[in-house]
């Protein structure tokens, strides 16, 4: 072999020109400098994180307490951290795109290719590495607590799911430094993303980051569904579950059935690119419409996968902060089920203009409009829950208020787009961009952020700072409105989506309004960061160790904050819906059990991190054609997995005496504490113990 062949054998197509920083040195345009700057931020961020952990001497803690943990609560928190870090990148990319378009009359500072990379990574990140992990994180943390379980059904698989999701996120981050990410949008339609038009690393980065994370999500779905079916506390029939758990169940079902189409679509695209298959090529019998159908067969249920859990979060926060039972529990459950079934029947509305007959289009159009009905039911449920409640305008309620107004508008424009004749007029314009941001930001993001504020005190034992939370929530609402309502107007004016620049001067002033909105969104994100720092600084004053800061109604509030590793000292017997609320009203709460038992919990294991590291190497090896490394990484994953099955000592016991001591100490603190009224819940007096107000509204109806 010549030295060239040796090099290619060892490094594949990875070379100096793969480095985006090298590209900027060779060709220092604004666009390249921005790309190189982003690469530097990734590198410096990684170095900074390593330095910080070393400085805090936290490596051992990080490894033994977090990365190898199988505790669903720790895994949930790690998911949320991943989501928030990725959200920072996604938001900055969004703001950069708004800036480009504001200055995009006849040009702007970004090349069309760079702009395309931005909207591709923005979409991919926001869906797969912000919304999904944030949701998986909150589900992981909250759902087992709400159903009275000790952990997920499959704790190790849970860790592997996190590892695979992190792999996908890592690949997207690495793409800033090495090679280029795809320019083919988050939907990556072939033939544009095929080998003929796009031989570079871009579509490969997209394929492997999305496919690997997608398998993680499928496994999460299986875990959530089995946990809900098999791990509920005694007495908790399905119709006694909190609504959040119902939405999790429906989301899990969507994960189980809607992620496989994504796996199939990505693997077929990979076969086309790597093995010269002809699933989606222009020539030799390929059919790109198969891709479009497969992708949206995943893609549409996906948006309900994202929004259903946030409906669940709003159901919890609105009931809690109104001091009332949720209005119309049963109708909400059935509406949730209806949405998850309907979500599989509407995928074609993503491509009304791609050649089906009018009859096919109208069938899918009507199915899409039908989704507005169960969604409307839910909105009425929430409004009726507020009615005559003791409503407090805490941060989650600010988000809920924004959600009511904005999400309904987004839903209405959705009904407009469900009409194929209107879709023909506005498809591929900014109207569409405005619509889906209008459902995803108020619907999904506001819900997740309200859940973050609601459950943060449960996870960490102190509340988040109220003032900064207010500022952030108001900025999000205003920022969203100023950014995306102008895009509706631009859409009607005919501005195409995914376009770096334009030649109609009439667009420009509207673009500047949208840019102003984007700066507000950036300020909202900054406020969230400041809030976290301020809250950690003031954690003593904000502490709620007794565990029930909001006068909660569900089981997760019936334990100290943060909860012990084993969750419940003794598994509760569930009598009613809103079990903890009823227990407080009828005097069953905070009782010492007659006896404690040993608790068996899963051991820590490094398997999730090994799989994560190997999968990241596998992804990179495939992207850069380093075949020996791909084989090595794949084999090491299989060997790790099989080796794990030979390990029989996978659990440990926590002795009853230790549990009893901890539980009794907590009960003693509860008895010694002075409970606070709902008016004082955002004040320093709040230690996490609530006065019983309006027991008629807390207890289950008799």
């Amino acid at each position: 072999m010549t030295s060239d062949q040796n090099y290619n054998w060892f490094f594949g197509r990875l070379d100096l020109s793969s480095l985006s920083i090298w590209q900027a040195i060779q060709n220092p345009t604004t666009s390249e400098l921005i790309a190189a700057g982003a690469a530097m931020i990734v590198i410096l961020g990684a170095i900074g994180a390593i330095a910080l952990i070393t400085w805090l001497r936290a490596w051992r803690t990080l490894w033994t307490e977090w990365l190898t943990s199988t505790d669903h609560k720790r895994i949930g928190i790690m998911y949320c951290v991943l989501a928030l870090v990725m959200m920072a990148r996604g938001v900055i990319e969004g703001v950069l795109m708004r800036t480009q378009q504001a200055f995009g009359l006849h040009g702007g500072f970004l090349t069309p290719d760079h702009f395309a990379e931005l909207f591709t990574t923005h979409g991919t990140i926001m869906i797969f590495f912000v919304a999904v992990p944030f949701i998986a994180g909150i589900i992981n943390y909250v759902m087992p607590l709400q159903i009275g379980a000790r952990d997920m059904s499959f704790p190790v698989m849970n860790q592997v799911s996190l590892g695979l999701t992190a792999t996908g996120a890592a690949l997207v981050m690495i793409s800033l430094v090495l090679g280029q990410f795809s320019t083919g949008s988050w939907a990556a339609y072939p033939p544009y993303t095929g080998k003929v038009f796009n031989p570079g690393t871009g579509p490969d980065y997209w394929i492997w980051s999305v496919a690997i994370a997608g398998i993680g999500t499928t496994l999460s779905g299986i875990n959530f569904a089995v946990t809900i079916f098999k791990e509920r506390a005694p007495g908790m029939s399905l119709f006694k579950m909190p609504v959040f758990c119902w939405t999790v169940l429906c989301t899990a079902v969507i994960m189980i059935f809607a992620m496989p189409p994504l796996t199939v679509a990505t693997m077929m695209l990979a076969a086309d690119r790597y093995l010269d298959f002809h699933f989606f090529t222009n020539d030799l019998g390929g059919n790109m419409m198969n891709y479009v159908n497969l992708f949206w067969l995943f893609g549409h249920p996906e948006v309900y996968l994202l929004v259903l859990p946030t409906y669940g979060i709003f159901s919890e926060t609105i009931a809690t902060f109104s001091g009332k039972r949720l209005y119309g529990y049963t109708s909400l459950v059935y509406a949730t089920m209806a949405i998850s079934v309907l979500s599989f029947t509407v995928w074609l509305h993503h491509f009304f203009t791609m050649g089906q007959s009018a009859n096919v289009n109208i069938a899918f159009g009507i199915a899409s409009m039908c989704i507005a009905i169960p969604t409307g039911v839910k909105v009425y449920n929430w409004v009726a829950t507020l009615f005559r409640g003791r409503t407090r305008l805490t941060v989650p309620m600010i988000y809920a208020t924004g959600f009511f107004y904005l999400f309904v508008i987004g839903g209405l424009t959705g009904v407009m787009l469900a009409n194929p004749t209107i879709s023909y007029q506005v498809h591929n314009t900014l109207f569409l961009v405005a619509h889906f941001h209008n459902v995803l930001i108020p619907g999904v993001l506001f819900g997740l952020l309200s859940g973050y504020h609601y459950w943060f005190p449960k996870a960490f034992g102190f509340r988040l700072h109220e003032g900064w939370g207010w500022a952030s929530a108001v900025l999000w609402i205003l920022g969203f409105s100023f950014t995306f309502f102008p895009l509706y107007v631009l859409g009607f004016m005919g501005m195409p989506r995914r376009s770096a620049n334009y030649s109609d001067p009439a667009f420009e002033p509207v673009m500047f309004v949208a840019l102003f909105g984007a700066t507000l969104v950036l300020a909202a994100l900054a406020s969230l960061c400041v809030q976290l720092v301020v809250s950690i600084r003031d954690r003593k004053r904000l502490a709620v160790p007794l565990g029930d800061p909001w006068n909660g109604r569900t089981l997760e509030w019936a334990m100290p904050s943060p909860p012990p590793h084993y969750n419940f000292a003794v598994l509760p017997y569930v009598h009613e819906r809103d079990e903890f609320g009823d227990a407080k009203a009828t005097g069953r709460a905070y009782c010492e059990p007659e006896e404690y038992e040993d608790i068996e919990l899963p051991n820590n294991t490094p398997i999730g991190m090994i799989i994560c590291a190997a999968a990241t190497l596998l992804g990179l090896a495939l992207i850069f054609y380093i075949w020996w490394l791909a084989v090595l990484a794949a084999v090491s994953m299989i060997v790790t997995f099989i080796a794990r099955t030979f390990d029989l000592e996978t659990t440990h016991l926590i002795p009853a005496s230790e549990i009893a001591a901890e539980h009794k100490a907590w009960l003693a603190r509860v008895r010694a504490a002075s409970p606070i009224t709902r008016d004082a819940e955002t004040k320093p007096e709040n230690e996490g113990l609530a006065v019983l107000e309006r027991p008629d509204l807390m207890a289950a109806p008799k």
């Binding site: 199939v264 298959f277 099955t645």
Partner: protein, 205 residues
Amino acid sequence: MKHPGINLGPHHGTAHDQAEKVVFGFWVFLMSDLIIFGLMFATYVTMTNPVGMAGGPGPKHVFDLASVFAQTMILLTSSLTFGMASLAIRHEQGRNIISIWLYVTLALGLTFLVFEARDFTSMVGLGAVPSRSGYLSAFFGLVPLHGLHVMAGCLWIMVMILQIRAFGMIPLVKTRLLRLGLFWHFLDLVWIGIFTIVYLGGIGT
């Protein structure tokens, strides 16, 4: 009945109780996997037409029905022998009998794979490669995917034979064998679909 499919029965104590959760979880996984096969079938069907074949070889030119029939019989028999293994586990007939049935199943699985590999080789010899047409891409997306599953199943049987020797019939080994059984029968079911839709359907039209 703790779960659908063959149950260990209450006389197995903790293993029977533990089976409820893990076997249910495995059923859910199989449902998800079945969606993948379903979509591969759908793709295959949409590509089985002159446009998809793009002038390349079609089913009539490349399928060896005798060989495929032999594979079908081998795989069906292997499902029967795995069923015998499951019964031996349920009725506690001892690790030797269980292992023998597993060895027979493994041998049948490997024989199936040899036949399948021979078929693919002869197809390649006839110029029927996935890069030739969309139709052949769909074929090589679907049928070898099943073969890959059979390979994984064979590897799993080998691991379980080792674990029976190393650990004996502990509850974990029993519940793993229950899940392996579901997996093996599932592969049979998918093969029935392949035999009917791909091979018989391809030659019939």
